[in-house]
């Protein structure tokens, strides 16, 4: 069954499963315990920590394990705000950040006296550096949030350039690398990043764990208190098996990167785009290919909801914009920030490839899209009116 929704979640890598199983099969032990079994669990956690750090050019001691990318973003935003004096809680976020960043910032504005400014993006979804710079208030801006690459359209951001601007204003840079840590990759030290958010399942590790990588000297208040784990920044028993999976996935992702996986993915993406363009000559591509495996396209005159239903029926998994809490497709704030109107946003489908994707997956997806479009065209022919026409108009 062709799976083209890596941006939502990547299938568990065999290396990750292999790393997890021994820890699941033998008697569980708390990595904080002082006995032999505890130390063994702890060792597995520390191996994972090294593997995650290596992926992003950081020191293992900088890695704070969390329950996932969302928690990492929340810790970064709220933890920074709470560590700052009330008059110095200004936040600047790109308009295309994930809701884990935007909503955490909104909370900080509503409940913690912060002020939030959104840095606009161009029609490809790239942050406009001069407009971002104009928003910075030296001495008052606490944090600038710009993701490495966008999860909906794939566009890569000029992180190193933003880091310089943030430094100059005395602000901390949060880079949400949840989508980009594997490919194209991110180097914390080289890019001047203070806080980096990661998610295990996007790399092919298990869901339920992630990390915030914290450059030394960055002030952060913890959100979760308790046993003092992770240097007091994130209490809670460390899930050794899941973290072992995370670490193994990170190591595999690094290996893939060095072996040129980006090129392989770009080739597959190209094949997909060519196939789709043959079916739909006026297909509209969103964003730039910062994430080599991600393709966001608009099918003019077709509802994404309709395509998704049919593609699911044919066994092809992909996605459309963002899902809201009830599961309906909502017009993406990312597309709107890029200047698309909500109607266009509702015609957008996202295909995303990854570590196990093959040419066969791509070809099957194109065939399924062809079939779906044929069904919709047949119905149109029957009723004499476009199927995408709204109700009651």
């Amino acid at each position: 069954m062709p799976y083209l929704d890596y941006a939502a979640s990547a299938p568990l890598r065999p290396e990750a499963l292999a790393a997890m199983l021994p820890l699941l099969e033998r008697p569980a032990a708390n990595p904080s315990s002082q006995h032999t079994q505890g130390r063994a669990a702890r060792a597995a956690v520390e191996t994972a920590r090294e593997q995650v750090a290596a992926l992003v050019g950081a020191d293992p001691g900088e890695v704070v394990f969390t329950s996932g990318g969302t928690e990492a973003d929340n810790l970064a935003v709220k933890g920074t705000v709470l560590a700052r004096a009330p008059e110095a809680r200004h936040l600047v976020c790109s308009a295309v950040e994930h809701h884990a960043v935007l909503d955490a910032a909104a909370w900080a504005q509503a409940d913690a006296g912060a002020q939030v400014d959104l840095a606009p993006v161009d029609n490809l979804g790239r942050v406009e550096l001069d407009r971002l710079a104009a928003l910075l208030q030296p001495g008052r801006t606490a944090l600038v949030a710009v993701m490495a690459a966008n999860n909906e359209v794939g566009t890569g951001q000029p992180v190193a350039a933003v880091a310089e601007l943030a430094h100059a204003a005395g602000a901390v840079l949060l880079c949400d690398a949840v989508q980009a840590a594997g490919l194209p990759g991110v180097d914390m030290a080289a890019d001047g990043i203070h806080l980096l958010a990661l998610a295990s399942h996007k790399l092919g590790g298990p869901t339920g764990v992630g990390a915030l990588v914290v450059r030394p000297g960055t002030s952060l208040r913890p959100l979760v208190h308790g046993g003092g784990q992770e240097r007091g920044l994130r209490s809670g028993t460390l899930p050794a098996a899941a973290l072992a999976g995370f670490g193994a996935a990170a190591a595999a992702a690094l290996t893939d990167r060095r072996a040129g996986a980006a090129t392989t993915l770009a080739t597959l993406r190209s094949r997909l785009l060519t196939g789709l363009r043959t079916l739909v000559p006026d297909l509209d591509v969103n964003g730039d290919p910062g994430l080599p495996g991600l393709l966001s396209v608009r099918f003019p005159g077709r509802r994404a909801e309709d395509l998704l239903l049919l593609l699911d029926r044919y066994g092809v998994a992909c996605s459309a914009g963002s899902a809201c809490a009830s599961g309906a497709v909502t017009p993406s704030h990312v597309l709107v920030a890029m200047g698309r109107d909500p109607a266009e946003a509702r015609e957008t489908v996202r295909f995303s490839l990854g570590h196990a994707s093959t040419e066969a997956d791509v070809d099957a997806a194109v065939a399924a899209v062809a079939k779906a479009l044929a069904v919709l065209a047949t119905a149109e022919g029957r009723t004499g009116s476009p199927a995408a026409q709204g109700v009651g108009r």
């Binding site: 239903l309 699911d312 599961g327 497709v329 119905a379 109700v391």
Partner: protein
């Protein structure tokens, strides 16, 4: 699949009948607050979850479709506009006509599906629409606007069942919605407080309560709060009860009279449609003029349309009759016929069709 027991059982019966079933939940509200409230309203987040869980139990695909914009425009805004115009709307009929049945069926057919199944208590047989077996739950009144093309592609598995039978079926199938309470009120008006909802929408628009001679008897907070036949909330002292005869929104006036003044012997319907797609000819029928009203015998007199040939139905299929105004001469007087309500015509259990009340006369 709204998340209620009726649509849950509908899905189950459709699967039992051997059909290739896909479940769809309609997201009709946009406000986060509405999405979080559980209880009397319909189609909250919790309802979507209930529907999804039932779909999972039945092993059918399940999707949530966002029709909030269409619903807002076609149902909610229309509801407010009708009250503002001195009429009493029928939002459930409007929803079926624009969103839930006609609209959804069109989308389903566009996706290659053959039919739409809903949990309405009514029956479709041989392409005709009939009352449901459970007289207390019969919902044929809100489906009157369907034509032959729609009825051919509509399945109503609950039509022959009573509500208790439906709940029993749900329990037998182990559906978690078996004991879920009903949602009774207009789904987008929390706690059934229509007057409050309208006041929040329009603001207070005070005016006069007058009698048929124009004498001022009292004052009101907004003409939109009143419907024909209403007795409560008039705020006037009178020797005998007074009832709303009509609402005049332009003047902000509510005209009241005695009980006897309410009696209506002729009703005009506009935008009339028939379930068999043929123009209504002169005949006798029974008419229901309110959702839970009693039926009255009447003579149906078709009238000429001001613009002959215009499509009678919003979806404008060529086969719609163009004589869409009818006069109903009632066999016995009816009380309180509110403009804007649906007048639905029956021949025994068969639904002939219906239209919107545009005028009524003593």
């Amino acid at each position: 699949m709204s998340g209620g027991v009726d649509s849950s059982v509908t899905a189950a019966l459709a699967v039992e009948a051997g059909w290739d079933v896909t479940g769809v939940h309609l997201k009709l509200a946009d406000t986060p607050g509405h999405l979080q409230v559980q209880g009397k309203g319909c189609c909250t987040l919790a309802d979507a979850d209930d529907a999804r869980r039932v779909a999972g139990t039945l092993a059918i695909p399940f999707y949530v479709w966002d029709m909030a914009e269409d619903f807002q425009r076609a149902v909610v805004d229309d509801f407010a506009a009708e009250y503002a115009g001195g009429r009493t709307p029928n939002p459930c009929a409007r929803c079926n006509e624009q969103v839930k049945v006609v609209g959804l069926l069109a989308r389903a057919r566009a996706l290659g599906f053959d039919a739409l199944a809903t949990g309405h208590y009514a029956r479709v047989e041989d392409g005709r629409l009939y009352r449901g077996a459970d007289a207390a739950k019969d919902q044929s009144y809100v489906l009157y606007m369907l034509g032959p093309d729609e009825l051919r592609h509509l399945r109503l598995p609950l039509g022959r069942l009573t509500k208790p039978e439906v709940r029993a079926t749900a329990a037998r199938l182990g559906l978690r919605t078996a004991a879920k309470p009903e949602s009774y009120d207009v789904c987008f008006v929390p706690d059934g407080d229509t007057a409050g909802w309208l006041e929040r929408r329009f603001g207070a628009r005070p005016g006069q309560v007058v009698d048929t001679a124009g004498r001022v008897l009292g004052h009101h907070r907004g003409a939109y709060r009143y419907t024909v036949g209403q007795r409560r909330g008039l705020g006037i002292a009178a020797p005998t009860p007074r009832y709303v005869l009509r609402v005049e929104p332009a003047a902000g006036r509510v005209v009241v009279g005695e009980r006897a003044d309410l009696a209506i012997t002729t009703v005009e319907l506009e935008r009339t449609t028939t379930t068999d797609g043929r123009p209504l000819g002169p005949r006798h029928a029974r008419v229901r003029l309110r959702a839970h009203g009693t039926e009255i015998g009447c003579r149906v007199v078709p009238l000429e349309d001001p613009t002959p040939g215009a499509p009678a139905h919003p979806h404008g299929a060529a086969t719609r009759p163009n004589r869409t105004r009818v006069r109903l001469e009632l066999d016995e007087p009816s009380d309180a016929v509110a403009p804007g309500q649906a007048g639905v015509l029956y021949d025994g259990d068969l639904v002939l069709g219906g239209g919107t009340v545009s005028a009524s006369h003593a």
